[in-house]
């Protein structure tokens, strides 16, 4: 009996190690971690193949894929085409999300307030310091605004969220562009820094008269007071999946070499102005071709069957035509 048990146990160990060997490894951005891990979980149940994704940050993800220690890297800030060329990498957008301003003002409900890009930039630059500033009043004639000082909350850690938020401010405010610029970590003129999306959400939730920016999912889950924004077409939009998708649909991926496209301030009357894609990086000539084609299989599966799971977690799946484009890129560029 014991002998049989031992054989069965040994067989199970062997089976699990062989399953382990087929695992795909990836590392990078923290923003898509919840959806990647959910996909990986379902994919394992469906196909038996696992995926090991470490959310260590976009910068570290880029480093790891260049060093060829992982099958794929993930980043919120896309690499420029010339950099992709230099490192022999292929890049494509995997899933999208949106960034929303959130405020904590007594008596103000989600969606009641509206801000535009310039006002937002001036708040974060320190030019607008009180809630009853004429610029904010003009946008919100019906909202009663206190004459208290604005507590500005931003990220203290380097992040793709900050990259996209500051990129948007750079596009809508010349002042912001020259004084601060865009990046994963910038020289913030004012405000307190909180760690992670959850830190900013927690801070704004706690602090009266504060403003912050978070991924949409965090605003929704923490029931924070998000604001509407005036988009590039001059229309006021609310943060809804439809508005995020409108921005994504208006993005011209086909004309962006290496899919280098930052989704902020996209044209279109219905577009939410601060949407962001998160990207996957892989080598054109991978060291481990089996793992590489296994990874592509996973991404294909995620595009085809992962849309619902992504939406449940408040991410926006890539539109159909973009997926078609990406599949062509895989066939043309990745050798397996």
């Amino acid at each position: 009996m014991n002998f049989i048990k031992a054989i069965v146990a040994a067989g199970m160990v062997a089976a699990s190690t062989s399953a382990f060997a087929a695992d795909i490894t990836g590392a990078g951005a923290t923003f898509p971690y919840p959806v990647y891990s959910k996909w990986a979980d379902t994919y394992k149940k469906d196909t038996g193949n696992g995926l090991n994704y470490q959310s260590i940050g976009s910068g570290a993800g880029i480093k790891q894929i260049i060093a060829k220690t992982v099958t794929f890297g993930a980043t919120d800030a896309p690499l420029k085409p010339e950099q992709l060329e230099k490192e022999g990498l292929v890049q494509w957008p995997m899933v999208m999300g949106a960034i929303v301003p959130v405020v904590n003002l007594e008596g103000v409900k989600p969606g009641e307030m509206v801000l535009d890009g310039e006002t937002l930039a001036n708040i974060y630059i320190g030019k607008i310091t009180k809630w009853d500033d004429p610029a904010i009043k003009k946008l919100n004639p019906k909202v009663s605004l206190p004459s208290d000082a604005i507590t500005v909350v931003r990220r203290s850690d380097g992040s793709g969220t900050t990259f996209n938020f500051t990129d948007y401010l750079s596009k809508v405010s010349a002042d912001w562009k020259t004084k601060v610029g865009s990046g994963t970590a910038v020289e913030w003129p004012v405000g307190v820094g909180a760690k992670g999306n959850e830190g900013v959400a927690g801070n704004v939730g706690q602090t009266k008269n504060s403003i912050g920016y978070v991924e949409y999912a965090y605003a929704k889950q923490n029931k924070l007071t998000y604001t509407g924004l005036v988009n590039s077409a001059g229309k006021t939009v609310q943060p809804t999946i439809a508005a995020f998708q409108a921005a994504a649909a208006n993005a011209d991926w086909a004309k962006a070499p290496g899919y280098y496209l930052i989704l902020t301030n996209q044209p279109g009357e219905a577009s939410w102005p601060i949407t962001a894609a998160t990207f996957i990086l892989m080598h054109k000539e991978p060291v481990d071709k089996a793992a590489s084609s296994e990874a592509v299989k996973f991404f294909k599966w995620a595009f085809e069957k992962g849309g619902k799971a992504a939406e449940e977690l408040d991410y926006i799946p890539m539109p159909e035509p973009v997926v078609k484009l990406i599949e062509k890129t895989w066939a043309a560029d990745i050798k397996s």
């Binding site: 940050g57 910068g59 000082a149 507590t151 380097g158 990046g183 913030w188 760690k195 801070n203 706690q206």
Partner: protein, 333 residues
């Protein structure tokens, strides 16, 4: 019986000298092995430390070459600039200020607890207080950070800070130090968390060294009519000075390097302002916040910050050694 006795003496006589030499050499070998094992352990500390210093210098080299001495005198921190402009003055200032305030709070309170526990406390209260201090030391720093963020921060912002700001308004110097607006995340709030975190270090070590004071010394002092205050001031503290300072230094070392709790509650702002109620940052908080997403010169600058913290801690510990040495000389030991 006799046979056996003869037998054993015969055996002993035959094997005796040989066994003795063998046993001795075995002892010698054991001793030598022991000596070298412990020595290797001790030397490994130096090797590890050296390795850390070298890798810090290598990692920091691009930033040292780029910024040079201006790294210490610039307070701008603009990693997104092209090229980046990085200056460590903000984090250095924050590290020193938070540690200083933390020690100003923790030393008197810690010593107070220790004196009460050893000299004045009724026996039944000793265990609960002692246990509470041990628990305080055992709480992970992230818990302190979260507590500071959700409980202490709001309390200070709504109750303590407005009172202090109102109290010192218009007073020169103090009015600038306690300037508004009140904030959840500030240098002062971080200092207070640090003070609570280092309290057990000071208390536990002080209690231990206070217990080493020979009872006869204290009894003699009481015998000539000293009050408890006089016994503590003139007998207990002088007798245990070196040990107490050791505890304080250990606490200071912890305060200088504490990362997680501080990151939560300090506000992570690189600007230097006179007010302790404004947000700031420390060296370790800055590294913890930005390292994951950094690269190139930015990362090198963060490693250089790490090297600075290393040097800063070394200087503080060296100063403590010097102080102890002088105290020992003065005491004539």
């Amino acid at each position: 019986m006799a046979d056996m006795a003869v037998d054993t003496t015969g055996l002993q006589a035959a094997a005796g000298p040989y066994d003795r030499a063998k046993a001795l050499s075995a002892f010698k070998l054991g001793d030598k092995t022991f000596y070298w094992t412990t020595r290797a352990c001790a030397i490994s500390v130096l090797l590890i430390l050296g390795g850390i210093i070298i890798s810090l210098i290598v990692g920091a080299w691009p930033a040292i070459r780029e910024f040079g001495f201006s790294f210490l005198t610039t307070s701008r921190w603009a990693p997104a600039n092209d090229p980046p402009i990085l200056g460590a003055l903000g984090p250095i200032y924050g590290t020193l200020v938070t540690s200083l305030i933390a020690m100003m709070i923790a030393i008197p309170v810690g010593l107070g607890i220790a004196i009460f526990l050893t000299e004045l406390c009724p026996t039944w209260l000793r265990r609960p207080i002692g246990l509470a201090i041990e628990l305080l030391a055992g709480i992970p720093s992230i818990i302190y950070g979260m507590w500071g963020f959700f409980v202490l921060g709001p309390f200070l912002a709504y109750h303590f800070q407005p009172a202090m700001i109102a109290l010192f308004e218009g007073v020169p110097v103090l009015g600038d130090i306690f300037a508004g607006p009140p904030s959840y995340l500030s240098l002062f709030n971080a200092s207070l968390i640090l003070a609570i975190m280092v309290l057990p270090f000071i208390t536990a070590i002080s209690v231990d060294v206070f217990k080493t004071v020979p009872p006869v010394l204290k009894e003699a002092a009481y015998g000539v009519g000293c009050t408890t205050w006089e016994v503590v001031r003139s007998v207990v503290i002088p007798y245990t000075r070196v040990g107490v300072i050791g505890g304080v230094m250990l606490a200071l070392g912890r305060a200088l390097g504490e990362t997680m709790a501080v990151t939560f509650i300090i506000g992570n702002s690189f600007r230097i302002t006179g007010s302790i109620f404004s947000p700031g940052t420390t060296i370790s908080a800055a590294i913890a916040s930005e390292f994951a997403e950094s690269d190139g010169l930015h990362q090198s600058g963060l490693i250089l910050l790490g090297l600075l913290l290393f040097i800063l801690t070394f200087l503080v510990l060296a100063a403590a050694r010097l102080l102890l040495l002088r105290l020992e000389l003065k005491a004539g030991k």
